[in-house]
Symmetry: C2
């Protein structure tokens, strides 16, 4: 039985650091914090219950766990400094690309010191920034990757994982390389595809001003991510460039195959490929935490003020939590159709409550 | 001044044909219908007020306008037959790919007969099929492409366009070739990209079962279309294969450029490209009909039963129609954030109503 983590130091008290502090305080930990900007750590302290410290050294002195949540360029150096100063603490970080940060930490620390470094990636966040927008809900039920490598002491990774669970999140063990490869496909490639599609349509619009008139719900779904922060994303993609490049390559190969099938008028080949993708999509859950146990209902609603209010109220009165709600569109437009995702345990009560409310739900998944 | 269209014949009374019938009846037209399946046209008649006719010839005999809404393979032959039988009617169709259908009609009819053919594409639909799921709302406020070519009599196209407006939809004039080129980019390419991304992740999942655990909201947005009907879509894409192939080519070129920028660690180039895409995305409206006049508000809500019910009720009580609502996610997860799209005329009242309701909306667009 490993001692639970009790004292936590947060280095870098922006939105994510302060949100982790809030969740840790809620879980009964004592939390200290430090930030390069003294005002930021004072704000974080006022908002989260962490004790602000004037130096990194003072913040980590008594810590069982140090969480490095500084901007990416400062992470590796801060991790190494924390390992040196805190004689027995586990040190983790929140960088969204792991292999480069881990390599930098390893190159600057010996194996003994480095055995207490457990690379991490809490997969939560917010469009906002700064401690004033922090919330424990930023980490509630998220996937938190524990990216231990060969140098990491297994007991440290285990102890850190138990702490993640106490915070209400879900630890998932992946090596730094696997983490980077998988996020390249499911997180970084979608960003690339979305921005590329939107960029392409924007260029066409210069010649064809009507083009966006024809853009229905599908185009909007595909390009929503293109509104994300360009500076943040170019930094992330460059940090993971090898894996993102490989993912783009796999994607282009599939696109080229489909183009060849179309050129050959091979409708059965196109249909087979689409059918496999459809089956996979229907198996994909709405939320990571409930992905193995969700049900999706399709419901038609009138396109008028109050229509969404009514259906969401019907479900709330029936005490059915909506895991996800999407206004969806047919292949070519169509309006007033909603996809409701609920935990599979609530599938039956959702159907009953909807039917009692006068709706005619169709189960999609 | 052109005579308004008064008598309409619908050939093929499935979901779309019957929905058009409902909208035409609502607009005060007399509507007759025919379907290859006698039971289908009887159902359509009962549900929409169209008068069922046992033969195509009887249905079109007195028509000012014939709308051909049969399955795609039958469209061209049915258009030609209607032109031959109905001596002065305008004949249109609903095929979602235009150039091939138009070429087939032109090859089977002379210029005089063909001058009354106005190719069309009402960009509405539904995941369901059959007259029993028809609704006039399927065509409310949609874009309805009027794809006249050189053979089409301009007065016929004009008269048809006025009728579309009476039905509550929006006529947009595009040649058949331009229509096919533009939908290849904003409708067909998104389907291809979505299915390809989902297919890629599904193949990876065989080796990496954790991959979909890491898939957050962005991946779900990008892959939602992959759940569309494979048979329908393979037919559409093959019918428009040249333009879809060209669109895939343009898309691949952009992806390859981005990959080259990443290989060169050229973060400023990536950021520039993403910045242009972001600007274009923020300019894209939520609904085709209001695209030049929407406002988008971002609001944080708690992740609990009733949270959506409450915010939608607040807006309904304030008489603000929600044009679109999306549960959105940060680049890396995050939950409880909603994007609300409202007509720009309602932007101020939405903000007031939300603030009065205790929300803190941020205007995104």
């Amino acid at each position: 039985m490993l001692d639970p983590i009790q004292r936590v130091a947060i280095l870098g008290t922006g939105l994510l650091g302060t949100s982790i502090a809030l969740a840790a305080v809620r879980a009964g930990c004592e939390v200290e914090g430090w930030d390069l900007d003294p005002e930021t750590v004072q704000n974080a302290g006022r908002l989260s219950g962490l004790a602000p410290r004037p130096t990194l050294e003072e913040a980590v002195a008594l810590a069982d766990l140090v969480v490095v949540a500084t901007p990416i360029p400062a992470i590796a150096a801060t991790v190494v400094r924390a390992l040196e100063v805190a004689p027995s603490a586990i040190v983790t970080d929140v960088a969204s690309v792991k292999a480069t940060v881990v390599a930098e930490v390893r190159s600057r620390s010996d194996a003994e010191l480095g055995s207490r470094y457990v690379p991490g990636h809490p997969m939560g966040g917010s469009e906002r920034s700064g401690p004033e927008h922090a919330s424990a809900s930023v980490v509630d039920a998220i996937v938190w990757v524990v990216a231990a490598d060969d140098t990491t002491e297994p007991a440290a990774a285990e102890r850190f994982s138990r702490w993640i669970e106490r915070l209400g999140a879900r630890p998932v063990a992946l090596s730094p390389e696997r983490h980077d490869r998988l996020v390249a496909i499911v997180s970084h490639l979608p960003q690339v595809a979305s921005s590329s599609l939107m960029g392409l349509a924007a260029v066409e619009e210069a010649d064809e001003p009507e083009i966006l008139l024809l853009a229905a719900g599908g185009f909007r779904d595909l390009t929503r991510l293109a509104a994300s922060q360009p500076a943040l994303w170019s930094e992330i993609l460059v940090a993971n460039r090898a894996e993102v490049g490989a993912a783009i390559g796999l994607f282009v190969r599939r696109l080229d195959q489909l183009r060849a099938d179309l050129e050959a008028s091979d409708a059965p080949a196109v249909e087979r490929s689409f059918r496999a993708a459809k089956a996979a999509r229907l198996g994909l859950a709405a939320k990571p935490t409930v992905r193995s146990g969700v049900a999706v209902w399709q419901v038609e609603i009138p396109d008028e003020p109050g229509a969404l209010a009514r259906i969401t109220a019907v479900l709330a009165e029936g005490d059915v939590n909506i895991e996800d709600l999407q206004i969806v569109h047919s292949p070519e437009g169509g309006r007033g159709t909603v996809h409701l995702t609920v935990a599979v345990a609530n599938a039956g009560s959702a159907a009953r409550v909807l039917a009692d409310g006068g709706y005619d739900p169709i189960r999609l998944a």
